[in-house]
């Protein structure tokens, strides 16, 4: 995912300007495409959720199964995102600041989860920890349940959101180099001080960028979680899984009401993302050194 920010269009020479009919045609085509595939679906979510009035809409959140789905989604994100954040910080420090054999292979491996189908991402854990999986007999002997329980959902979520923070931080820290870190160390700062006062402030916008994308995916993941959850109402249903259950029960208002929460999260994520892209582009190339005091 590259971060593209629209920059002002330079005034082009008349010879390379497209004819106005051509321009209008392409703009119309592009807008119609987005209207059809993005704007109308988002509008539909709110339209369907409010189809029977505001009262029915809010009543959908009074349901105890709905509330526990919201709680589970928050819990899963609260575990998965910090895990991947710590991993991202470690991976980017090792990869961006040091040279070692096999580095590009390691970067490719970190990207692997993005290439795997969500369903397969869930399946790999079923094959390990499910009742017929490798560790199935061992786990049942210990009375530990991973699949069709919360740990499986957390594992699958960690897998699908694995690369988000790491790849963002690796790119940023590689671009920033480590001259300032070396200066701090030569002036007597400890490794931790250097990290907290130099590296982290320099990478903070990129870090936040990775975290909000990771969080959006963690809260919205459906396929991988669907395979490992077992769909136990009130126990192992996240918001997306609860949406599916309500929808299949023809309870459309409640389904779209739950879906509207996730849609609001998506819209909020896009707003923060645009803000962070603007910040990262606006950031001066030479970062201001924080005062040691």
């Amino acid at each position: 995912m590259s971060s593209a920010v629209v920059s002002p269009i330079p005034k082009a020479h008349p010879t390379v300007r497209d004819p106005w009919l051509f321009r209008i045609g392409l703009i119309t085509m592009a807008s119609a495409f987005l209207l059809l595939f993005v704007v109308i679906p988002v509008w539909t979510v709110f339209h369907e959720a409010l189809a029977k009035g505001v009262g029915t809409y809010f009543a959908a959140f009074q349901d105890s199964a709905g509330r526990s789905a919201i709680g589970l989604t928050l819990l899963v994100a609260a575990i998965a995102v910090p895990c991947n954040l710590i991993f991202g910080l470690c991976a980017s420090w090792a990869i961006a600041k040091f040279q070692f054999p096999g580095k590009s292979l390691l970067v490719t491996f970190i990207d692997l989860p993005f290439a795997v189908s969500p369903v397969v991402s869930g399946l790999i854990y079923v094959l390990l920890f499910g009742s017929r999986g490798w560790f199935g007999p061992l786990l049942s002997a210990w009375n530990v349940q991973i699949i069709f329980a919360v740990p499986g959902i957390v594992l699958a979520t960690i897998f699908v959101t694995f690369p988000f923070v790491a790849r963002e931080l690796i790119t940023i820290m590689q671009a920033q180099g480590s001259e300032e870190e070396q200066a701090a160390l030569s002036l007597g700062a400890s490794g931790w001080q250097t990290f907290w006062r130099i590296t982290l402030p320099k990478a903070k916008w990129g870090l936040l960028y990775g975290v909000i994308l990771c969080n959006a995916r963690a809260m919205g993941e459906f396929g991988a979680v669907s395979v490992v959850s077992g769909h136990i109402r009130g126990l192992t249903n996240t918001i997306p899984l609860h949406v599916e259950i309500l929808y299949n029960e023809y309870n459309f208002v409640a389904a779209f009401a739950m879906a509207s929460l996730l849609t609001l999260l998506a819209l909020l994520t896009l707003v923060i993302k645009s803000f962070l892209e603007w910040r990262m582009r606006a950031a001066p190339t030479a970062t201001e050194l924080p005062s040691f005091g």
């Binding site: 593209a4 010879t15 390379v16 990869i95 040279q99 692997l112 795997v116 397969v120 790999i124």
Partner: protein, 283 residues
């Protein structure tokens, strides 16, 4: 040893934490990603060559692969065409609302797939906003047909081509186009002979990314596809069906093949990106 390598070697001496961070990285990567993925291949290999071939050649499995790959291909082609137009419009033309249009391109990345799935189904169902007039005017049914799968896969692949083409278009030197124009080329000739060759690697990268995503996509498709075996059953859904029937062998064989295909696509995409970068640096 080159000067740069020497510098980095020296850096390793003074920057601390290499062993700790690399250790955590490798341990976490192995536990979460590498071991589970290898375990899947080991489970598949335990089926034996005959077992794998048997599981993968049943008519239902073959039909789902044909469906998934053909519709993903169409969706990625449509995304390549419309995504390039969208990228061009956003980089080259000024019009009101351009920034908002640019921001909403990312919505399919941010919107959970299940939400997209139920919204698209509601729109294209027989009584839906678009489904109803479409059926009345043309008799065309979208929801619960392969056409519905196509719509869902276009949705999830939409941002890829736009986001790979945009930065390349932005870096393009307008001087080349001016030179072509001043030498007598028409605007269309310039676009075809000067602009297109430079952005082609980026279009192909975006196309491959959209295709890879479409092949594995599940959430947005299952609601709109109707899930009829042999007709509208995609590969990821068939894996889930096999799991629910406790056909672990069948599910594992399909999953292993999907993983191989994903990895081939990933390496192809990496090669395309290097090529694209090479062309950008060269020009």
């Amino acid at each position: 040893m080159s000067w740069r390598a020497l510098q980095l070697w020296y850096q390793r001496k003074i920057l601390p934490g290499f062993g700790l961070t690399l250790g955590i990285t490798l341990a976490y990567l192995s536990l979460i990603v590498l071991i589970p993925l290898s375990a899947t291949f080991l489970r598949a290999s335990a089926l034996g060559w005959d077992g794998i071939v048997h599981a993968l050649t049943s008519p239902r499995v073959v039909a789902s692969f044909e469906l998934s790959f053909s519709i993903s291909l169409y969706a990625a082609l449509i995304n390549a065409l419309l995504g390039t137009i969208l990228g061009w419009v956003l980089i080259r033309y000024d019009f009101p609302g351009r920034r908002i249009v640019d921001a909403i391109v990312d919505l399919p990345f941010a919107l959970p797939t299940a939400v997209a799935g139920i919204a698209l189904t509601a729109i294209y169902a027989g009584n839906g906003l678009i489904g109803q007039p479409l059926a009345a005017l043309t008799g065309l049914k979208v929801a619960y047909t392969p056409l519905g799968i196509l719509i869902a896969l276009i949705f999830v692949g939409l941002p890829f081509v736009v986001r790979t083409v945009q930065p390349v278009l932005e870096d393009l030197e307008v001087e080349y186009e001016e030179a072509a124009a001043s030498l007598g080329a028409s605007r269309l000739q310039t676009i075809r002979r000067v602009v297109l060759p430079q952005i082609l690697p980026a279009i192909l990268t975006g196309f491959a990314l959209a295709f890879a995503r479409a092949v594995g996509e599940y959430g947005s498709v299952v609601f709109i596809s109707g899930n009829m075996p042999m007709k509208t059953e995609i590969v990821p859904l068939l894996i889930i069906t096999k799991l629910e029937q406790y056909d672990y062998a069948g599910a594992t064989a399909i999953a292993a093949l999907m993983l191989v295909i994903s990895f081939v696509l990933l390496f192809g995409i990496n090669a395309l990106q290097r090529w694209s970068h090479h062309i950008r640096v060269a020009t």
